[in-house]
């Protein structure tokens, strides 16, 4: 394993942690948006309590991924920044509005109507953001972004505007909503009615993942052949598919049997395996088919210093985050 591979792995790991932490925060915003029925207010309050103590802490993982991208693979950062200018700008606006709206709703001291307004901004941006996260991930796999001499030559719409990226965006949204619903069944604690609400939502979105994944696979264009060849024809194909299937079905069975803590573990495993499958299939490309992990890598002296810093930072960051989660769980 070479230094560029390690750096790419660190990015994928960061993205996986972002998906199961920050992604679930987006999913919670989605459930805020669609809260219905006699317990809509209670559902929103539970979501608020679950997110409030940590509100934006989980975004450190996205920053982690972006920093590794521009340190370890500057040409990929530059090419993606140019070709995906529009979806990345929408993504950024979504992240900014979501965080601000949540804080203004929570601590703004406004009246009920104002809080509802901020709640809508929060919920809407919680839906837009993961969709565009998925769109960006699909775009670098689509094979439709061509890069010559570091500069994209296919314009500003290639790769991200189409059925395939949108269906991957939808898949990401449903995955985030599924994770959030599973977490909320645990967070609901002794409130059985709320628990049942989120159990039903978790089961619904967990099952909906299958047709969403199918839609994404069917809508993929011919330029994604590089991905599917590796995805179905590698030595890791069957172990990985098996692990994904077992955790996916296991999570649904656990939800069905009301074993919420087990369901949470399995849902996290499932999301991680899905992302790992994408990462393995995407290798050796960062932006298929012209920007590769090795072709875009920084010189070895930069990579080795960065990897040392990532390892040292992890020693500091992971216990801090663990402490943060623990402290706030005790308080709430």
């Amino acid at each position: 394993v070479s230094a560029p591979d390690l750096a790419a792995f660190a990015m994928l790991a960061g993205l996986a942690v972002y998906l199961v932490t920050g992604g679930a925060d987006f999913g919670a915003g989605f459930w805020d948006l669609v809260a219905r029925g006699p317990r809509a207010r209670d559902q929103r309050r539970l979501i608020e309590q679950a997110i409030a103590p940590l509100w934006e802490a989980n975004h450190v993982w996205l920053i982690f991924v972006v920093v590794i991208l521009f340190t370890a693979f500057p040409p990929a950062f530059s090419a993606a920044g140019i070709a995906l200018h529009i979806p990345l700008t929408i993504l950024l606006l979504g992240i900014v509005l979501r965080g601000s709206a949540f804080v203004f709703r929570q601590y703004g001291g406004g009246d009920a109507a104002e809080s509802r307004g901020w709640g809508r901004v929060f919920a809407a941006s919680s839906v837009v953001t993961p969709v565009f996260l998925g769109v960006v991930v699909a775009a670098v796999t689509s094979g439709e972004i061509r890069v010559t001499g570091g500069i994209p030559t296919t314009g500003f719409l290639a790769g991200w505007l189409g059925l395939f990226p949108l269906s991957v965006g939808l898949l990401t949204l449903v995955l985030c909503a599924f994770l959030a619903a599973v977490y909320l069944t645990v967070a609901a604690g002794d409130d059985l009615a709320l628990r049942e609400d989120f159990r039903a939502r978790a089961l619904g979105t967990g099952i909906a993942l299958a047709p969403c994944a199918l839609l994404a696979a069917l809508s993929a264009g011919p330029a994604t052949e590089h991905f599917f060849e590796r995805f179905v024809g590698s030595w890791w194909t069957w172990p990985l598919q098996l692990a994904t299937a077992v955790s996916a079905i296991g999570a649904l069975v656990a939800l069905f049997g009301r074993r919420y803590h087990l369901a949470r573990v399995l849902a996290v495993a499932q999301a991680t395996f899905i992302l790992a499958g994408w990462g393995l299939g995407q290798r050796p490309y960062l932006i298929a088919p012209d920007v590769t992990i090795h072709g875009a890598a920084s010189p070895p002296q930069t990579l080795s210093i960065m990897l040392v810093i990532v390892a040292a930072g992890g020693v500091l960051l992971i216990p801090s985050l663990y402490l943060l989660f623990r402290v706030f769980r005790k308080i709430s």
Binding site: H85, L93, V96, S100, S298, Q301, I305, M306
Partner: protein, 271 residues
Amino acid sequence: MNAPRGFRVENGELVDIDPLEAMTTPFALHEVAHMAVAAYMATAIAAGSIHAYALWRKAAPAFHRKALGLCLAMAIPCSLVQPAIGHFAGQQVARHQPMKLAAMERLEKTQERAPLSFGPIAIPGALSFLATNDWNARVLGLEEFPREDWPHPIVRYSWLTMVGIGTLLAGWAAWALLRRLRKRAPDASKPFLLTTVAIGPLGVVAIEAGWIVTEVGRQPWTVYGVLRTNDAATPMPNLWIPLVVFSLVYLALSAVVIVVLRRHVRQTVPE
């Protein structure tokens, strides 16, 4: 990127990259120190002005006296040491970015015994002395650089704003220190309280002005002397669209923050 090092450019390619050397740029020390102290200073002064306002309105004096005391304990040393750090920063700029210094002072002609001028008043040699510790030193003027590369005149006005505010705040800090040494309660003097209320936003204004000085002042370079801003920008057309969108979003968010802060203050300080 104001004084890049740790690499060489050969045929448009970066070679001999040394990331550790890049971090030891001569700009690191003063930029980090200047900005870190500025952040503590601006926050302490902004928070202190809210507590001073509460004391002036005679709301919960015991609490707000303590809070203002904490803010002063941070703001006084920071405001007093900041001019010295700023002077050091100015000398680093004079050494490494003479064009920025010329733009800050609007010095057109290269000269020895360069004067420091404020409108009609000029102190001969003072600029040379401030920049190099030598009253007779030669200071490069803007004429040394191609006219199309001259930074925007806003650099000059932002520079005056920052230095003016910094001087004012240092004076205010000396006043506060004197009151503290004579063991006067911070709310015993109405003029002091009202001044502290009035200077509340100035620290943040000075930070913004300072960033305009350093970032507009180093134009047209993104990486000083290596990469021009024109060449660094994305080829994406219509960049005014995201500029306008982000400006509007952040203006709106700033307005909301002001409304929310006012609400929080009103809750502590009844009308």
